[in-house]
């Protein structure tokens, strides 16, 4: 039995990497990947807790989370493709028509 803390730590690290990526990267798709990493980290937490306290609802939650992440990703890529179609690139640092 692997201690809960290990999982939590691992999830935390994963989350942090995702967060770091989302703060620093400029490619839209990479940002999306980072979001997925973070969601995975959260799901890992859920699974770890679920196992730890021996309760299924965490797993259920994770399942829903995965499903919704998929839907979200689909919409996200659609948006990114639209961006690409309009601007021929997905370099978000230059997408700042809307500011101030």
């Amino acid at each position: 039995m692997i201690p809960l803390q290990y999982y939590l730590l691992l999830a935390g690290i994963l989350f942090a990497i995702g967060a770091y990526g989302i703060m620093t990267l400029s490619n839209g798709i990479r940002l999306l990947m980072c979001v997925e990493l973070m969601l995975n980290a959260a799901n890992m937490n859920l699974i770890a807790f679920s196992t730890h306290i021996n309760d299924a609802s965490g797993q259920v939650f994770a399942l829903f989370s995965i499903a919704l992440a998929a839907a979200e990703a689909a919409v996200g890529f659609a948006i990114i493709l639209m961006v690409y179609r309009l601007r021929a690139k997905i370099d978000i640092e230059n997408i700042k028509l809307l500011r101030w």
Partner: protein
């Protein structure tokens, strides 16, 4: 008291109509005067004539029929403030004089103002003035007196500025008001204090009416403010009002400027009636002054000083009307001074002051009207240096002015002789009882005599005799019927008033009954006052009858008058002495006099323009940049902080994500800190 056998109208019951009639005249003149009856003048004159009839009716009731003094009032506003009228010798003397003089000046003005296009406005204003003056005189309480006191001030302002298109006239009106306002605000404060101490005494009905105050003087004299007797402070505040209205030093500066108004106005308001309101106030409130320690001393000294001070200025002025204006200030000083002597003389001083007031009204009105006639005749030239030899062209005017001048310098047997010399004699009696300051009062008054004679006849000689010194003065034209009539009537009284009244004695005896006799009201009787007791409250001791000054004192004024007359004759008629080498700009004494002791300079250039305008400018800066600045600064800060912080919204989505993560971190730190703390 009422004699059932006398079947006559009791005019005393209609005293309020004395006030109301001219007010109605005012409204009629203002509203329809322009379209009816000579385009103005008639309504006013007739309404004042009506007032005059009632006034003399009252005088007849009281003086001849001995119907007693009468006072009545109606509740006005607030509790205890009444509108009331008092008919006693004091008010009767004033009201008869005012109505008489005012009527004749209106009469005169019908001729004098005949060519003015806004004649109806002029007459409306003078009618309002006369009505207000009646209201002031007949008031039975301080507030009503104050109200009409202000109203006459307004009329004065409006009439001085009647020729509003002249900037000097408008400025003079403002100056008059401002000088009076300084005194009036203090006067009002005095009334407020009086009200307060009356309420403290538990008096609630007719709370600041004179009789209510007089009856309670004993209690009121115990009140103290700032360690001083409250009555003294109140009297000093009243005195400030008097200085403003009656042109006492140092608030007299407006009177010479006020000569910018039509001459009839100068005669009516700034010589005969309104300026005497201050004297009347002290006379009316005499028991209060008597009961207030040291108050009358101040009155006496201020009056005497003003009398001398103004005389010196009269010596150097070249404007005919201004000479008479300074003489007015000086004569008012005499009246105030003798009232101050009441600390010793008692109610007699009121009688003397009032007699001089009445006599002065006649002869000073005469002087002004005749100078108005001069101005009328030579085209509004007022500088006596440009006149000369007018007597040839205008005999009526010239001799009328001479009559007035003789009365002014107290030439024997004229009205002034009886009134003014009596004042100087009694000032000596005051001096013998009233200490060193008393002598000073007497000396001032006596010195004033010689100066008065000099400057009066300087003016007369320069204007009337010698050679014409300007083109208009060569062919003056005499005035018309309305004006001539008035001059004659007034000349008669200027000369004979003293003789008519038995050398003033009848008048004095009548007036001396004022406070010491009981006053009837609709509901009861105010008993007469014991002035000796009241004087004790103020630390004064009234002289009992029988004191006579030494004979040299009696003849001294006469001699001095003759001396002054001689000087004037020598210098300005015979031209024996050439004064031009003294009358030069490099003579420091002349310069001081010419600049009116720099008082105008002090008030206008230093206080008004330098100090007050600087303060106002500073105030504007304060308002604009400090108080409003704070408001605007706050809005500026808000907008600027918005402008700065909107730059954080970079539009780059990673930064937004960073903000989210940053927010989470900060919140976490915050929460842990709170928990740790």
């Amino acid at each position: 008291m009422m004699d059932p056998n006398l079947t006559t109208i009791d005019f005393r019951m209609y005293a309020h109509w004395i006030v109301l009639l001219p007010m109605i005249g005012f409204l009629l003149e203002l509203l329809i005067g322009k379209y009816w009856w000579r385009k103005g003048g008639m309504f006013a004159t007739l309404s004042i004539f009506g007032s005059m009839i009632i006034s003399y009716g009252c005088l007849y009731n009281v003086y001849v029929q001995h119907l007693g003094f009468w006072e009545y009032s109606w509740p006005w506003f607030y509790d205890g403030i009444v509108a009331g009228f008092v008919v006693d010798p004091l008010s009767l003397a004033m009201v008869c004089m005012v109505s008489f003089v005012s009527f004749f000046i209106h009469f005169y003005a019908i001729g004098y103002m005949s060519h003015d296009c806004a004649k109806n406005v002029y007459f409306a204003e003078t009618a309002l003035f006369t009505g207000s003056m009646f209201g002031l005189v007949l008031a039975n309480n301080l507030l009503q007196l104050f109200i009409f006191w202000e109203m006459v001030g307004v009329c004065s302002y409006l009439l001085i500025g009647f020729w509003w298109h002249k900037p000097e006239a408008a400025a003079a009106g403002k100056k008059a008001w401002m000088s009076c306002a300084v005194g009036d605000c203090l006067f009002l404060l005095g009334i407020a204090m009086m009200y307060t101490i009356m309420v403290k005494q538990g008096i609630t009905s007719e709370i600041i009416s004179f009789n209510a105050i007089f009856q309670n003087l004993e209690h009121l004299s115990h009140e103290a403010l700032f360690g001083v007797s409250a009555l003294t402070i109140i009297c000093i505040l009243f005195m400030c009002g008097v200085l403003g209205k009656s042109a006492g030093f140092p608030l007299h500066v407006w009177i010479p400027d006020a000569m910018e108004g039509p001459t009839t106005v100068s005669a009516l308001i700034h010589a005969a009636t309104m300026v005497t309101a201050g004297v009347y106030l002290i006379a009316r409130a005499f028991p209060i002054f008597l009961a207030a320690p040291n108050a009358l001393m101040i009155v006496a000294f201020m009056g005497a000083f003003t009398a001398l001070y103004a005389s010196t200025l009269g010596l150097v002025v070249n404007d005919l009307k201004r000479i008479f204006a300074y003489s007015t200030i000086s004569q008012l000083g005499y009246m105030i001074a003798i009232l101050g002597c009441g600390a010793v003389l008692g109610v007699a001083s009121v009688a003397y002051a009032l007699f001089h007031l009445v006599a002065h009204a006649f002869f000073k009105a005469l002087l002004f009207l005749s100078s108005g006639s001069v101005l009328h005749g030579i085209g509004n030239i007022r500088d006596i240096k440009e006149m000369g030899g007018l007597l040839k062209g205008m005999r009526w005017t010239g001799y009328a002015m001479l009559a007035g001048a003789l009365a002014l310098i107290a030439f024997p047997l004229t009205a002034g002789y009886y009134s003014k010399d009596r004042i100087i004699e009694d000032a000596y009696i005051y001096a013998t009882h009233g200490g060193d300051l008393g002598y000073m009062v007497w000396i001032f008054l006596v010195l004033g005599v010689i100066l008065t004679a000099t400057y009066t006849f300087r003016a007369w000689y320069l204007a009337m005799t010698g050679e014409p010194r300007s083109y208009p003065a060569i062919h003056p034209h005499e005035c018309g019927f309305w004006m001539k009539t008035t001059l004659v009537v007034l000349s008669f009284f200027a000369i004979f008033l003293g003789i008519i009244t038995g050398g003033g004695k009848d008048f004095w005896h009548f007036l001396e009954e004022t406070f010491v006799h009981e006053t009837h009201t609709a509901t009861g009787i105010y008993p007469g006052l014991n002035l000796h007791e009241i004087a004790h409250l103020g630390g004064n001791t009234l002289m009992h009858h029988g004191a006579h000054p030494p004979s040299w004192v009696i003849y001294l004024p006469l001699l001095l008058m003759i001396a002054g007359l001689a000087i004037a004759t020598t210098v300005y008629y015979k031209n024996r002495i050439d004064v031009s080498k003294y009358v030069k700009k490099d003579n420091p004494l002349y310069q001081i006099l010419w600049n009116k002791y720099y008082l105008d300079y002090l008030f206008k250039d230093i206080i008004a323009e330098k100090i007050i305008m600087t303060v106002f400018t500073f105030w504007d800066v304060l308002d604009r940049y400090v108080i409003d600045g704070v408001v605007n600064l706050l809005s500026w800060i808000t907008i600027q902080s918005g402008q700065v912080s909107r730059k954080l919204q970079t539009g780059i989505v990673q930064n937004y994500a960073t903000a989210v993560i940053f927010g989470v971190s900060m919140l976490m730190i915050l929460v842990i800190m709170i928990r740790g703390g």
